[in-house]
Structures are given as structure tokens and as C-alpha cells.
């Protein structure tokens, strides 16, 4: 089990991801999404996903965008960081900072399996918007 955590240490790039329904149906949530996820040996992690073709702001203040600019930027990216740990094949992210305020202080549970040099990270079933589904992220070493 210690080996699973050791294998996860390092930086990973999103190779593929899918929404997986209870009947096994797979849907790519947003084609062209890129992502970097890092697990450090001292127990910290960060995850950032970004959709394609994001629009630049007209101004030079990242925290001074218009309502339209910030709504677009916030609807096309996901970023958080904090600590991580593993218990068996369960992976926990303890979120310290997130662009999404609701996740600050949250503990997120994932399961991990390895397939060759890929790590497959799956969420627990998400049930708050109808029939349950999971997100499955396939990660490859960032290199």
C-alpha cells in the first residue's frame, strides 16, 4: 500500500477524462481540456484543469476583470491545492485553497489504480444532480 502512494508522487498531466454513468456510458466532459496534478513527497498537492480557447482579459489586473471576463474565466478552469494522503487505494485531498470557495476546508475522496505508467483517479459517485455518476481522470507522467 505504501507503494501506491510512492508511485503517485510526482507531477502528472491529464491524458484523458470522462464522466462515467452507472451503466458504464462514458462522456468526455470538455474536449481539449488540459490539466496538471502534482503530489509531493512531503504531502502537498495541487490540481489545475483548464478548458481550451480561454479568452484573455482586456486589462492587466488578474483580479480586476469585468463581470463577463471573470465569469468566462471561472467557468473554464478549476484549481485547488492542499495536502494529500492515501489509505489503501483511497486518495484524500484536503483542500486548503481553491478558486471555488465552497471547497476550501473540504476533504475529497478518490480511488487510484495504476495501468502501466498511467494513474487512473476516480471520484466517488456524485449524486446531487440526479442519477449517480463518477469522473475518471487518466493521468500520465508530466515529464
Amino acid at each position: 500500500m505504501i507503494d501506491l502512494a510512492k508511485k503517485l508522487v510526482g507531477t502528472w498531466r491529464l491524458a484523458d477524462w470522462a464522466r462515467v454513468d452507472a451503466d458504464g456510458k462514458r462522456t468526455p466532459p470538455l474536449p481539449g481540456t488540459i490539466g496538471l496534478i502534482c503530489y509531493t513527497a512531503d504531502g502537498f498537492m495541487f490540481a489545475t484543469l483548464m478548458g481550451p480557447n480561454r479568452k484573455r482579459f482586456a486589462g492587466f489586473d488578474p483580479m480586476g476583470g469585468s463581470a463577463e471576463e471573470t465569469h468566462h474565466a471561472m467557468s473554464t478552469a478549476m484549481s485547488y491545492c492542499g495536502r494529500w494522503r492515501m489509505e489503501g487505494n483511497r486518495l484524500f485531498h484536503n483542500v486548503e485553497l481553491s478558486m471555488f470557495p465552497n471547497w476550501v476546508g473540504a476533504e475529497m475522496t478518490r480511488t487510484v489504480r495504476f495501468d502501466g505508467d498511467r494513474a487512473v483517479v476516480t471520484t466517488l459517485p456524485i449524486t446531487d444532480s440526479g442519477p449517480p455518476f463518477t469522473f475518471e481522470l487518466v493521468l500520465k507522467p508530466a515529464g
Partner: protein, 145 residues
């Protein structure tokens, strides 16, 4: 003498963020108690995330589904980017691959560093943050393993 990478590898918490304008006026873009975490990974990747404390949660659970007002408030109180890092003389260079702020993607962010015990001060070129322009100084404290 340039720092060794080992002196920066690890995780650092933000203690103070000040911005000094051309007239010597000092402001704190995220107030007196900003939250922040910089992670310098041993394999050359990094993440910087900074936020104001006490941000308002969204009404819904979808991180990408906030209203324009919620999104505007969230992004006006948070700054995040990831990429690679390297030491170049007296500076640490962040090569930004992804950022909440789209304009930052593909840029090199050069920060002069000053190491002092378990703290590092990163000094920026002139920039604009939350309406104030000038040179920013961010004080970070190493998180004990």
C-alpha cells in the same frame, strides 16, 4: 551566490503581501491576512495560489456553474497559476502553463528571491493587482514537513 534548488523545494505559506507604488505608498492587495501556498516540487513543477480569507461560497455545488456575480467575486479574491520553475541567478522563474487569469498563460514570471532562515521574500517586477500598481513583496514561510 545563487540558491540551490533544495533551498526552495517544498511548500511555503504566505505571511504577508505588500505592494509599493512609485510614490512609496504601500497597500495590501489581499488585506492583512492573505492566504497563499506556493509548492515547488522536486521534479521542476510549481503551483502558486493566493486568496483572500472569508470568501463567500457559491449557492450551488458546481465549481464551473457560478452566477456572474459569484464568479466575479471569487476571481476578484483569488489568483492561481501552475507551471515549471527554475533558479536563474538571484531570481526564481515561474514558466506559467496554466492560470486562472488567461493572460498569464505562456508567460515567464521572474521573482527576485531573498532567503532568510525559514522564510523567503519574493519581489516582483511592477504589476497591477486589485487596482493598485507597483512592486510587490510576498513573504513566505516554509511549511515544516
Amino acid at each position: 551566490m545563487p540558491a540551490k534548488p533544495e533551498q526552495l523545494i517544498g511548500s511555503w505559506r504566505l505571511k504577508k503581501w505588500i505592494l509599493t507604488d512609485g510614490n512609496g505608498r504601500v497597500t495590501e492587495p489581499m488585506g492583512p491576512n492573505p492566504w497563499g501556498l506556493i509548492i515547488y516540487a522536486a521534479d521542476g513543477y510549481m503551483s502558486a495560489m493566493l486568496a483572500m480569507p472569508d470568501r463567500t461560497p457559491f449557492a450551488g455545488n458546481d465549481p464551473l456553474g457560478g452566477s456572474p456575480e459569484e464568479a466575479h467575486r471569487a476571481m476578484s479574491s483569488c489568483h492561481a497559476y501552475v507551471g515549471r520553475w527554475r533558479i536563474d541567478g538571484e531570481s526564481v522563474v515561474h514558466s506559467v502553463e496554466m492560470a486562472l487569469w488567461p493572460n498569464m498563460v505562456g508567460t515567464e514570471q521572474v521573482r527576485h528571491y531573498h532567503l532568510d532562515g525559514n522564510r523567503v521574500i519574493l519581489k516582483t517586477p511592477p504589476m497591477t493587482r486589485k487596482g493598485a500598481s507597483g512592486i510587490a513583496e510576498l513573504t513566505w514561510e516554509r511549511v515544516a514537513g
